[in-house]
Symmetry: C2
DNA sequence: ACCACATAATGAAGCGCTTCATATTGAAGA
DNA sequence: TCTTCAATATGAAGCGCTTCATTATGTGGT
C-alpha cells in the first residue's frame, strides 16, 4: 500500500522550498515600494520619514511577519542594546530582587539583559564574562569589585562600560554602585556586643576570592576590637552562602568545647539554615544563641524567631546599576548616588547573651542596660 | 595659564586614534601570515588545519587579545549557539533550580542561555519572546504549554525549535518536558481527604492565562468528587504565586463564616506565606488548619511545622529541557523521557481534620483510620 | 515664476565573519 | 621523475542590516 502523504511531500518539496527564507528588510522595502534605507529608517527613526512611507513600511512588516535580524543590526550598528548581567547565583533572593529591578529598569530604557551565573567560581566568572562579551553586549554589570585581572583587562581593552555592584571601592576599571560592607557588619556587631555577647562567631563565604567577605569580617573584628575583644579565628566559618552553609556551621559549632553565644551570618540563607539546625540540636534561639543574617530577604521576618538582619537595598542597587551602565554607554549622566545605605533590622533572633558568659565588666554592664 | 594636558591631547588625537579598533579575524590572519579562511577554520575546526597553521593563528590571537565578534559570526553562520529561556519569575526557587540545571547542561553542550522574565504577564511574555528571537537564538524554552497564539506563530514561522516545560500536553508547536499537574494535586487531595477534611480550600494562581493552574484545580476537584464532595468555588483563591499571595489568602479566609480545615497551595511560597499568616491570626497548623504546598523547595522542610508538599523534579526538568532543545536544533535524538513524576511528601503541616467537622460517615471513618 | 533651503528618499559601502568553489601542496604509487 | 589524490589553504561572495554622501522633493519668500 502506498502512503500518499509521502508522494505529495516528494512532489512538493522541490517547489515549496523546505525552508522558505524569513523575510528580510529588503523584502519589506520591496513590498512597500521604498528603498532599503527608507525602510530601515522607518523602523528605527520613524519621525524622520513621511507618514505615508511609514505607513507603507509598517503594513509590509505586518504582512510579512518581519522580525529584524539582531545579528545583522549589531554588526552594522556596532550596538546591541544588551547588557550582560553576571551574578554569582540566583538561589539568594537578594540577587533575584536586584536582577529584577535591574531588568525592569533596563527594559524601560530600551535595553535587554543577558544573564549569566558563575556559582562563585572565579574561573567560571571569566568564562562567563568572555562568553557574554563575545556574544556582544554594550555594557556589563558585575557583583563585587574584586575580579580576576583578565576580567578587567578584557573589559578595558574592548572599552565595554562596566558597573560593579554590592560594594564600594576604587576598581581597576568600571564604576561602583554599592554599600559599605565593613560598616554593615560593624554596626551589626555593635548591636550584638551591646547585648553582652563576647564569644561571637561568624559565618562568611569563602574569603579567598571575595573581597566583600573580607570586608565584612573586618567590620566585625574591628567592632570587637573596640570593645576590647578579639575575633577568634576558629570562630570564623567559611561556608557557602546557602542554607546548607548555615547548617554546616552549626554542625561544626556543636562540636566545640565552648560554644559561641552569637552567630553573625553574612546571608539570610545561612542564618535560616543555622536557625533550623539549632532546632535540630536543641539550641534555643535567642536564649542559648543569637543569630543574625544579612540581606533582609522577605523570609527573614517570617522565621521563627524572626531574624535580626541587615537590610540591603537590593532593589535600589538594581535600579542604580541599570541607570549607571546606560549612562556610561550613552555618555549621558543621570545624577544618581553611587552609594546606598544598609541598616540593621532588629528582630527576635538577636537577644541578650546567656547570663554568666561575660568576662568583662563592661559587657556585664551593657547586658544589664539593654536587658 | 595654559593647560598643557590639553595641548598634548590635541596634538596626539589625530595620530593615536581615540578608539583603536578591536582586532578582527583579518588582523589575526595577517599577523599569522595565513588567509582569513584559514584563520577562521583554525578557530572553529582546529583539526582541519595543519598544526603549524594552528600554532601561528593561536599565537596571533593571543598576541592581539582577539575576541571573536558574535554578531558577525551569527550573521554569517546563521547560528548563535544560544538558547532563550523564558521564565515567569525567579522569586520561586523551583524555577531557579530548573534554570540552574538548564544552564549547566547547556553550557556542557556548548550553548549559552539568555534569560528573560515575564512576571506572569501574558503580553509581556510575547514581548520577551520576540525580543529574544530578534536577538537571535537557536531555540527557546518556555514554562507551560498555554501561550498566546502569536507566540506559537512566531516560533513556527521562524522555525525556531521550542520546548515547553512544567506540563504535558499536545501543544500547537514545540515539544514538552513536564509532569501531570492534574495528577499531582489529585494525589495530594486524596491525602488530604484521607485525613477527614471536607472543607478544602485552594490557593492557586490566576487561571485565566495559566493552564497549569486550571489543571491543578481540576485535580483537586476530581478527587473531591470521587469522595462525594464538591469543591466550593468561593474556596478557590486566585492569588499570586508568592509568599504575599499565601498571606492574602489567609486574610480572606479568616473573614469567612465557616473556615476550611485544609488549604492546598499551588506553590510552596504561598504555603509559607499562609503558614505565617496563620500564626498571626492564632490559627494553629495543623491542629486548626492543614496546609500543603507544591514544589518542595529547600525551605519547605525547614518551616515550622515542616510543610507537606508535592515534590516536583525541577532539576530534572532543566536537564531534560536542555537536552531536548539541543536535540531539536541539531536534529540529534537523545533518548530521554518526556515526562517526569511528582510525588507527595508528607510532613507535619498536614494533619487530621479537627474533630466534628465531618459530615459524611466515610470521612469520619477515614479520619479514625489514619489518626 | 524663480531660487534657496530644509526635509526625505536613495543607493552603495561596509560591519566581521563563515563557507565554498577553487587552487595549492605534498606524499604515495607507477 | 611524473601522476594522482588526498589534505590544506586561498579568496571571494555573501549574511541582513545601518549609515552617509548624494539626489530628489517640496515649501516659503521675493
Amino acid at each position: 500500500m502506498e502512503d500518499t502523504r509521502f508522494r505529495v511531500f516528494l512532489k512538493m518539496a522541490p517547489m515549496t522550498n523546505v525552508d522558505p527564507p524569513r523575510p528580510t528588510l529588503e523584502d519589506v522595502a520591496k513590498l512597500a515600494g521604498v528603498s532599503l534605507g527608507s525602510a530601515s529608517r522607518a523602523l528605527s527613526v520613524p519621525d524622520q520619514v513621511k507618514p505615508k512611507t511609514l505607513a507603507l513600511v509598517r503594513r509590509a512588516v505586518e504582512q510579512l511577519g518581519y522580525v529584524s535580524n539582531g545579528a545583522a543590526r549589531a554588526l552594522a550598528s556596532k550596538r546591541t542594546r544588551t547588557i550582560g548581567a553576571i551574578y554569582p547565583t540566583m538561589y539568594n533572593p537578594a540577587f533575584v530582587e536586584s536582577l529584577h529591578t535591574l531588568q525592569q529598569t533596563l527594559w524601560g530604557l530600551n535595553y535587554q539583559v543577558v544573564l549569566a551565573i558563575h556559582e562563585y567560581i572565579p574561573e567560571r566568572e571569566y568564562d562567563v564574562v568572555r562568553a557574554v562579551v563575545e556574544r556582544g553586549v554594550d555594557g556589563v554589570v558585575l557583583v563585587g569589585t574584586a575580579h580576576e585581572d583578565r576580567v578587567f583587562d578584557l573589559m578595558r581593552q574592548r572599552r565595554i562600560p562596566l558597573v560593579l555592584t554590592w560594594q564600594l571601592d576604587e576598581p581597576r576599571y568600571g564604576e561602583c554602585i554599592g554599600f559599605d560592607n565593613w560598616r554593615a557588619t560593624y554596626e551589626m556587631t555593635k548591636e550584638v556586643l551591646a547585648r553582652g555577647h563576647e564569644r561571637i562567631a561568624i559565618v562568611c563565604g569563602s574569603m579567598e576570592h571575595n573581597q566583600r567577605a573580607r570586608q565584612r569580617v573586618a567590620g566585625s573584628a574591628d567592632a570587637m576590637k573596640e570593645a576590647g575583644l578579639e575575633l577568634a579565628p576558629d570562630l570564623v566559618f567559611e561556608e557557602p552562602f546557602s542554607i546548607e552553609g548555615g547548617k554546616d556551621a552549626i554542625k561544626k559549632i556543636v562540636e566545640l568545647k565552648e560554644r559561641p553565644t552569637a552567630l553573625i551570618c553574612h546571608t539570610d540563607l545561612q542564618a535560616i539554615g543555622a536557625l533550623h539546625e539549632c532546632g535540630v540540636h536543641g539550641i534555643r534561639v535567642p536564649e542559648d544563641m543569637s543569630i543574625t543574617g544579612m540581606d533582609d530577604i522577605e523570609l527573614a521576618a517570617l522565621m521563627n524567631p524572626p531574624l535580626t538582619t541587615i537590610r540591603v537595598p537590593t532593589k535600589e542597587i538594581g535600579v542604580l546599576a541599570a541607570r549607571r551602565i546606560v549612562g556610561l554607554i550613552e555618555k549621558r549622566t543621570f545624577d544618581d548616588p553611587r552609594s546606598v545605605r544598609c541598616e540593621v533590622v532588629l528582630r527576635d533572633s538577636l537577644g541578650n547573651a546567656p547570663a554568666g558568659t561575660q568576662r568583662t565588666p563592661a559587657a556585664r554592664k551593657s547586658r544589664r542596660k539593654t536587658a
